[in-house]
Amino acid sequence: MKKMTSAAVGAALMTSVSVPTMAMAEDLTLCWAAWDPANALVELSKEFEAQSGHSMNFEFIPWPNFADRMLNELNSGGKLCDLLIGDSQWIGGGAENGHYVKLNDFFDAESISMDDFAPATVYAYSTWPKGTPNYYALPAMGDANGWFYRKDWFADPEIQAAFKEATGRDLGEPQSQKEMLEIAQFFQGREIDGKTVYGASIFTERGSEGITMGVTSALYPWGFKYENTPGSYDMEGAVNSPEAVEALEFYKEFYETATPPGYTNSYMGESLDAFKSGQVAMAMNWFAFFPGLYADPNTGGDKIDFFVNPPQNQAGSTLGGQGISVVAYSDKQDAALEYIKWFANPDVQAKWWELGGYSAHNSVLNDPGFKDSAPFAGDFLEAMGAVQDFWQEPAYAELLLAMQKRVHDYVVADQGTAQEALDKLIEDWTEVFEDEGKL
């Protein structure tokens, strides 16, 4: 009996050592958009696999279909994703519809502090209701809409002289939105190296979120606000303020006078293509693409430089970026939380930035060497200090599509006036908030 007991204890001990490791090893699936930083994350996650014994699978969806595909997945209670790096605007729906796991208890238990992350990213990517200490995501990828330009063209003495003659000032990185338009108009249709080039590539895409992200990059520097009082949904006088009207008119003028012909439905991909093919002097795009642009053998390196979205009445950049959430329908939530715990580690965050991901961790951003670690690092910090995001309401998709329609109708299809477009936008948004019971 004694022998048997010893054997049983021995077996139990063996089991306790070996079985949990086997039982805990999970196949985790992380869902995100298919773009450069996603490849960096695959590389980064190898370390997690080695440490935890879990294996990581990735589901990367092209940007134009990302929202459709992932929101359908969440709405149907799908189990495809254990972890989701979802867009900032999804946080309201993710929280209110029960798609995301609330992370407060987990953060407390694992001593993960949101104070360790840049406040703007915590506010935008993690909290719902906005600004309250209710966390549904960990800031994963800081991002904002910025600009890049042909440094070699800007440095060309002939071009500089021509610009000085045309405008009376030196050619350089624009200090305001209007200066940027002036530069873009100067390059529009100009012959450089025997080729006709154009001013700038901006976002005009109709189907998903493109033109809204582009237009807000003009609206925010003019001082655009969604509500007169935050949380009150009183939009009259804010959304259609004289500044907002002027900014929208400015964007239309930019589209009409300083972009390549045929750019009626362009977003991230088209902007990158236009720049890399040497068609444009400047282009707007998300900071996430900047490491890849800098590394480009043809138009990167010495030929490119970057600048933050210029101010007009104030500084303002359109927020991009995402937080990482645990999907409530996942059967592997423990392992998924383990990934988040690992990802929040400052060392991992430092490596994330090294590989091309935009860490939102203070230990990375506040590092004295951060600004000089990449030619766009300083601009990124500056941009993140003045970011503004679109509505993050559960009904964000309705709000976004309404804006897509109204601004595309005005800017690209040349229908009505800026004032009419913004007035109609308020009507659309009011209807949505009435349906939501918020008005």
Binding site: N75, N97, R206, G262, L401
Partner: protein, 315 residues
């Protein structure tokens, strides 16, 4: 033993099953045969239709499962029918429908008439002409997008060659005036062969002796065309119009690939708008009402048309 369907079926059925079949009436056997089809129809057509009608009177949103839908009566219908933007979508759809059908019938019939003439390489030409309709709409949409590209697109260069205009001076997909025509051109390019094939079937079904009799009566070629060819091909032509009409009323893939409904909402056909309401904005109740309105419209128009078609056939 009476020779009923059941008994005949029993003879060729394994004995075990045959015993069960033998006592059944013809009507019962008929029901057994059609029941699976009826069940499937009810499950995948009728039930969703009834459910859609029910949802159309609510404010249900499929992405808000934790929110109880409320009955809101005819509000969705009222909103849709008084929404000026939706009427613009209807106009865009009507423009697309009218011009694609008109051009496809005209060109399709002409091609069929030419192909019907016996000439060398007739079969090869038929195959070449039919190729576009064999392609996927997504592929067609994508490559026409390149053809329409103002800087490198072949279409602009061809137009420029004939008009002397600068190729990049006009944008087929980006201009409010040209975009509706650009989608008409692509759909016509793709689906004219379909109309041609139906017309060809009609032309080949006309017996030669009718033309021979007309020749004997010294009817001119023009008269033969208008009094024999057209009336005898008309039922086929009307059938082609019905098929293309129904297809183009719900046109989605090709136009989404080409313009995404833009610029602005110029080429936003009703099906594109409906998809946005249902699966992007998730206004399920509203989209259900929208779908019912479209269904009634198509069903009503198709019924009237089929009656007319039958009258033509009877003549």
């Amino acid at each position: 033993m009476t020779d009923t369907i059941a008994n005949r079926a029993a003879k060729v059925t394994p004995q075990k099953v045959a015993r069960k079949i033998k006592g059944l009436s013809d009507r019962a056997i008929a029901w057994i045969f059609v029941a699976p089809t009826i069940f499937l129809l009810l499950a995948i057509n009728i039930f969703p239709l009834i459910w859609t009608i029910q949802l159309s009177f609510t404010n249900y949103k499929a992405n808000r499962l934790n929110r109880e839908p409320e009955f809101i009566g005819l509000r969705n219908y009222e909103r849709i029918l008084t929404d000026s933007d939706i009427w613009l979508n209807m106009q865009a759809t009507a423009h697309f429908l009218f011009w694609t059908i008109a051009l496809q019938v005209l060109i399709g019939f002409t091609l069929a008439w030419l192909i019907n003439k016996k000439f060398k390489g007739n079969d090869l030409w038929t195959t070449i002409i039919v190729l576009p309709m064999m392609l996927s709409p997504a592929v067609v949409g994508n490559f026409w997008k390149f053809l329409y590209q103002p800087q490198i697109g072949l279409f602009n260069y061809i137009i420029a060659f004939f008009t002397g205009k600068e190729p990049s001076s006009f944008e087929m997909l980006g201009s409010v005036q040209l975009a509706p025509w650009s989608i008409v051109i692509v759909d016509t390019w793709m689906w004219t062969p379909f109309v041609m094939l139906i017309c060809l079937a009609g032309l080949r079904s006309i017996p030669d002796y009718i033309y021979e009799a007309a020749e004997v009566d010294r009817a001119s070629k023009l008269r033969q065309f208008f009094t024999i060819t057209i009336p005898m091909v008309l039922p086929f032509l009307m059938l082609a119009v019905l098929f293309r009409g129904i297809e183009n009323f719900k046109m989605f893939d090709l136009v989404v690939q080409l313009t995404g409904g833009g610029p602005g909402s110029t080429t936003e056909l009703t099906s594109i708008n409906l998809k946005r309401e249902a699966f992007e904005k998730w206004r399920t109740g509203y989209a259900s009402a929208y779908a019912i309105i479209l269904f009634v419209t198509v069903f009503g128009l198709a019924s009237i048309y089929v009656k007319a078609l039958n009258k033509v056939k009877e003549r």
